[in-house]
Amino acid sequence: MTELLKVTDLDVEFPTRRGTVKAAQGVSLTLKKGEVLGLVGESGAGKSTIGNAIIDLLERPGRVAAGSIVFEGEELRGKTEDEMRSVRGDRIGMIFQDPQTSLNPLLTVGVQLVETIEKTTDLRGKDAEARAIELLEAVGITEAQSRLKAYPHQFSGGMRQRVVIALALAGDPDLVIADEPTTALDVSIQAQILDLIKKLCRERDLGVIIVTHDIGVIAEIADRVAVMYRGKVVETGEVGQILGAPEHEYTKSLIAAVPPSDRRLERFNSVDYIEGGSDTRRRIDVQNHWLGEKSHDASDGPTIEVNDLNLSFVLEKAILKKNRKMLKAVDNVSFAIQPGETFGLVGESGSGKSTVARLIAGLYKPDSGQVNILGQDVSTNPRLPAAVEAHRALQMVFQDPYSSLNSRMRVLDIVAEPIRFYKLTSSEAETRKIVGDLLDHVGLGAAAALRYPHEFSGGQRQRISIARALACRPRILICDEPTSALDVSVQATILNLLKDLQEELGLTMLFISHDLPVIRQMCDRIAVMRHGAICEIADNEALFTNAQHEYSQHLLKLMPTYVGQ
């Protein structure tokens, strides 16, 4: 079989005022018809750059510096913009990451499809419309005829991504490049979209390049895999071989960092190929340190107790109460977390898990129900001195490392803020020393104190967030999707850090994630949430081996699993 696409020794450069950045170096790839090639790597590895270089859509000032791109026996490099435009869409289709932004919200789906079809094929008018209906049916949209008149916002996220796929197929291309096609979608929808892409690839004999950071996606769909690291392809091979018996050190680290779903590890090991991953922590002796001093007396009974919590958000305002449209974000939620336990909340987006965390942290006020922290009711009257005191024992680590630190403050001031505010030390010199110790302890090094957040990577910022939480000397840590914005290898190091801290300090943790394998690694007991309500609370082992509730079983079934490791 001949090759559909052959990329040889491709170099992509981004000239900046600080010198030229080589986004891709000597990249060679081949793709046959009917084959799915997975391009996997972490952020900054250059995987999207390759996809964009193939269709000549590099963001300025990026340019292809060397190498060749041969598509169906034809060299694409050196083609003019006009010639490329007929290649794009006609012969190469694109699927982008975010279905929210890749469709025009002001035009109906039909108009957008027909427009693309008329531009890329000879079909006109009624014929183009018939073709649009055919395409929508091919991507699994029922009642396609009537759906043509619908606007993008009338579709759900998964349906919208199907429309995007239909658009990519409009010109009947031979090659489809999908850049993180399922990253913005929930697990259950991800599985459907991947199935669809795979099916279309087989039926139409398409070549597909899937660009992704997610090994689970690769395992699900790819035939062959190219692993990228710092702009280079470090390893290429059949999917089974790469996942099962990786040869390159980086691939090994990457795969070791993926949380397995079938068993619970003590820690993730051998992630030392990764930035910041090697264990350079200068640990402090917690027991004899400021950090280890108990600021709250241990109490009997559960650390956090939540009783019949309810909260509704107003969707549509109205003066009369009965006319208001409400969304029940949290619906009669009750659970208790024992001292030293890690309690997991898992569910898809919109299930209310983050809202529960924010209710416990006091960021929202419940409509009804009660939150007890260390035996103290903190929800009825949060301004009570005893409630304020109890709340201080609770700290939170947030999801987005880029917005959870104030970019105008030095790391020193960010971490020292609670210490200074509550006067937890006797002098400024002591505060600075403790901040240095904390930064050392989370693996950043005390020298980080005088720098600003923007100088750090996502994983490092998350360490700063953790240090800030520790500065309150908490007994309870709420982690709200602490690693979902991070690369898988960085995720492994952060999860290791959280595990260590919990052990050393005897922290009670509430761990929130949409990612079942991560939950599997971190939690002792797990609550599965859906539509604001808890479906099931079970021990880790029990949930993953013998889930009781229908929805839990459904979620577990969709969890990407792969052999290997």
Binding site: R17, R358, A361, G362, L363, V388, H391, R392, L394, Q395, M396, F398, Q399, D400, S403, S404, L405, N406, S407, R408, M409, E417, P418, F421, Y422, E455, S465, R468, C472
Partner: protein
Amino acid sequence: MSEKTMTRWQRFLDNDIVWSFFHSPGAMLAAFVTVVFVVAAFAAPIIAPFNPFDPSQISLWDGKLPPAWVDGGQPQYLLGTDNQGRDMLSTILYGGRLSIIVGLAAVGLGMVLGVTLGVISGYVGGTTDAIIMRIADVQLTIPGILLAILINGIGRSFLPLEMREEFAIYVVILAIGLIDWPQFARVARGATLVEANKEYVQAARVIGLPAWLIMLRHILPNTLRPVLVIATIGLALAIISEATLSFLGHGIPPTTPSLGTLIRVGNEYLFSGLWWITFFPAIALVVLVFAVNLLGDWMRDALNPKLR
């Protein structure tokens, strides 16, 4: 060059905004003109050939002289003299100083008032927000200059007669500052709404910091970028407002003329052919406002990551 070996100055030069400044000729020119203007205005007592406020240096005999290069002009009066025999160049320098001072003070007042109310409005929300923003909306329905005349009139009527001239400048500052605040409040409120939802603000709330401290330490510094942009453009507007007030005779009295006062005085003589009394202050005003506006435009582009 590693970051640790960089001096503070090098790091300053390395900053994206500073870099953008040194690569945009328009901004550099505007900054140059503004700086020249400000320096000349504030150094007026040193560099001006005459002191227009000193009666002993003014001679009515020298009144209404044209610029030096025109027939009948005298070399010591480069840009001519006004009706009272004051040297135009010196008067423009002194007047420019007054205009800049009034502009800066008025914008400062409007900014402090507007940003404070805007941040509180955005962070506290609810009824407080509704009340503050409705007041701002109502105020924006009245033309600013009319409102300034009104505030100016009321302000003066509270002053005893003999103090009116002396305090006129403060009343003008108050009037312009008070018509400026809704712009600042709106921008600050918008920025606050964005920042208040970010996780670093939630983290501060979880730590247990009181609301005023969160607003002051976390939200305020992060809303300053857009505020700075409209402050620059607002400065140009405030200078124009002052000139308009003075032109209409409601601003700075003719004994200590600002640019606007000079233009008004000159306007009366325009048809008698004494064009220079109006022309030169007007040119000075246009150049100053234009330069400040250009600077504001550049700042808006440079500080907005979406346009970069």
